[in-house]
């Protein structure tokens, strides 16, 4: 950790810095979320900081602890925490920004993927688990949870809730073995049907399944039924 970098930031962005501290020896700077990316770029490119190693990015939900104070004096719910390190100088810095009100409204911040490519998955994870939106992220999807999951796990989800089973996905255009019966190798479809589905040469007759879909019968099945 480095006090010099904190001084450097104070000099360069006097109006953007909300607070600084060095608890347990970790130098920390809290900045205005609007200047988030600008400060990050400065940290990376300035020769005195030279923070070229991306270490970690996460968010902390302070709603259970009575919120934190943002740059404008309003109370904020989330704190986005970034850890970076300089390879050449060996110093570290923790950069934080506070976003989002009580109902997680306005929980968004600029993406840092263009600054450090390593931020990509970390931002996706933070989006997934905390529901924070990263503006300008190239590929903001869920990463750890499944798409059908409702809510954001860490932020709003009671730890003891039993989550209902999610229905099978029925996405058109998915790869053949991954239709509605994904993950069930001996599920509701039979093996031959999957093999010969859509294969016109193999198809000899047509059958309709219970759900109304036209079922293409394969020669193997036809032979067996004869």
């Amino acid at each position: 950790m480095s006090q010099q970098v904190v001084e450097l930031l104070r000099e360069r962005f006097p109006e953007a810095i909300v607070e600084t501290h060095a608890q347990f020896g970790d130098d920390t700077v809290v900045v205005d979320p609007a200047r988030w990316r600008e400060v990050a770029l400065f940290l990376r490119d300035d020769a005195r900081a030279a923070m070229n190693m991306f270490i970690d990015l996460c968010a902390v939900d302070y709603s259970a602890l009575g919120m934190v104070t943002g740059h404008d004096g309003e109370s904020r719910r989330f704190e986005i925490v970034l850890h970076v390190r300089s390879l050449d100088r060996g110093h570290r810095l923790r950069l934080k920004a506070r976003v989002g009100d009580e109902d997680a409204e306005g929980a968004e911040i600029d993406s840092l993927v263009s600054v450090w490519r390593g931020a990509n998955w970390f931002e996706r994870e933070t989006y997934d688990l905390m529901g924070i939106h990263f503006r300008g992220h190239p590929d903001l999807r869920r990463i750890l949870m499944y798409e059908e999951f409702v809510g954001t796990r860490c932020a709003d989800y009671p730890a003891n809730r039993i989550h209902p089973l999610v229905e099978f996905r029925d996405v058109p255009g998915k790869l053949p073995p991954f239709g509605p019966d994904e993950g069930m190798s001996f599920g509701r479809q039979d093996h031959e049907r999957r093999m010969y589905d859509g294969d016109e040469q193999a198809a000899q007759g047509e059958l309709t399944t219970q759900d109304g879909r036209v079922r293409v019968q394969s020669p193997i099945v036809a032979a067996r039924e004869d």
Binding site: I55, D56, C58, W121, F122, Y146
Partner: protein, 404 residues
């Protein structure tokens, strides 16, 4: 005779071609750690890849917020089930940093020795699994046999073979056994002999070398930008090792080298791991020589460390102390801290937020292989399908850690 691909009008036939989507995993023999890779193929070359993780997501961070600080240890064990001791040590150091305590020297050496043994386990499994996926099953068995020796030591010391839950805030769960040093001095040379043997089988094997040399190469700048640490970063030639750059647990007193690669390919990653195991052996032998035979293992602080069982049953102070720690947990000062150690894969960080009570407010784990798997997409794009297997293997993805 007329060539087959000629039309009657002498014009070339245009075969319809479209990129093929291939799905590997989540249950695929080469995707150990449960990961799904959707690759877009042109012929056999990967043109696009999408690495999907999360199949082992168990809500580690959320679970940690429910118990007290000591109850986190079993969870960190299960984050990296290949070298759980390193995770234990990492988390203990993080909480101790907040408490502002340092464990006695004997305990620090004990942690170093156990941690290095765990690092050897980690590398053994990674190298062995990587070889196995390339068809070399025998070296894997050699390495697994070598790991068995280490596991026997762990079993003797901690009582468990894999998930030890042996770390404690302010010390370790138990002091070293009486024949701790002899056991390791006898066991580690046998492990190294097996490593040599297994390595000889691989490094003179044309198939293995052809499939790792020059494959999955990454530049220094890319590795840094992706946040890589540990062996994967060192294989590109950057000698960043937390044990050297920010020594903890008396690593500054131990003499060891940081092996680096030159190209950052699979071969370099494999060789760095092999060399690191030998360096671990150096560390272990020095630490055993320097480690005092007697002395306390835990710090002398009744607010942090559980009392002796005998005292709990015979004295009122012991009973109260035990009750307070078990029921309320260790009171960690309010604030936030980031502590990092060198785990098997790289920098393992814990970002802890405490509200001053016995329960952690937030436990954030910075898993080293999360960043490595993030870089997989870049590594395999442009390679062939068979190259995906050793490349993925050499990154040493640990599902529990990567998916939290």
């Amino acid at each position: 005779m007329e060539p087959l691909d000629r039309d009657l009008d002498e014009g070339e036939l245009e075969l319809p071609s479209e990129p093929m989507l291939l799905n590997m995993g989540p249950s695929h023999p080469a995707m150990h750690g449960t990961v799904r890779i959707v690759v877009e193929l042109s012929g056999e070359t990967i043109t696009k890849a999408d690495v999907q993780i999360g199949y082992l997501h168990r809500g580690f961070e959320k679970m940690c917020e429910r118990g007290n600080w000591t109850q986190v240890f079993p969870y960190v064990d299960r984050c990296n089930y290949v070298s759980p001791m390193l995770n234990n040590v990492g988390f203990s150091l993080a909480v101790e940093k907040m408490l502002g305590v340092t464990v006695p020297e004997r305990c620090q050496y004990y942690r170093v020795v156990l941690g290095e043994l765990a690092r050897m386990c980690d590398h053994l499994i990674c190298s062995g699994a990587m070889a196995m996926e390339l068809g070399a099953f025998t070296p894997f068995l050699y390495f697994a046999r070598a790991r068995e020796i280490i596991w026997d030591i762990f079993e003797e010391e901690t009582g468990a073979r894999v998930t030890h839950s042996f770390g404690r805030v302010g010390g370790m769960a138990k002091p070293p056994t009486a024949d701790f040093k002899e056991m390791i001095r006898a066991g580690v040379p046998r492990v190294l002999a097996m490593i040599d043997e297994g390595e000889r089988l691989l490094l003179r094997n044309r198939i293995f070398l052809d499939r790792v040399e020059g494959i999955g190469r990454i530049s220094q700048a890319d590795a840094l930008a992706l946040g890589w640490t540990g062996v994967c970063l060192r294989s590109t030639g950057i000698p960043y090792d937390v044990r050297k750059s920010n020594p903890y647990s008396l690593y500054e007193r131990l003499d060891f080298d940081v092996p680096v690669g030159t190209q950052g390919d699979n071969y370099d990653r494999f060789m760095c791991r092999q060399e690191e195991m030998r360096q671990s052996q150096r560390i272990i032998s020095q630490a055993l020589d320097q480690m005092p035979d007697t002395g306390p293992i835990n710090i002398d602080d009744p607010r942090v460390v559980l009392p002796e069982k005998e005292d709990v049953y015979t004295t009122i102070e012991g009973t109260i102390q035990h009750f307070k720690i078990v029921m309320e947990g260790i009171k960690v000062p309010a604030g936030e801290c980031y502590s990092y150690t060198e785990a098997g894969n790289g920098e393992l960080g814990f970002y802890l937020v405490s509200d001053g009570s016995g329960t952690p407010y937030r436990v954030r784990i910075r898993p080293p292989c999360f960043t490595h798997v993030q870089g997989l997409e870049q590594l395999i794009t442009g390679l062939m399908i068979p190259d995906l297997v050793p490349t993925f293997g050499s990154l040493n993805m640990i599902g529990g850690e990567c998916d939290h």
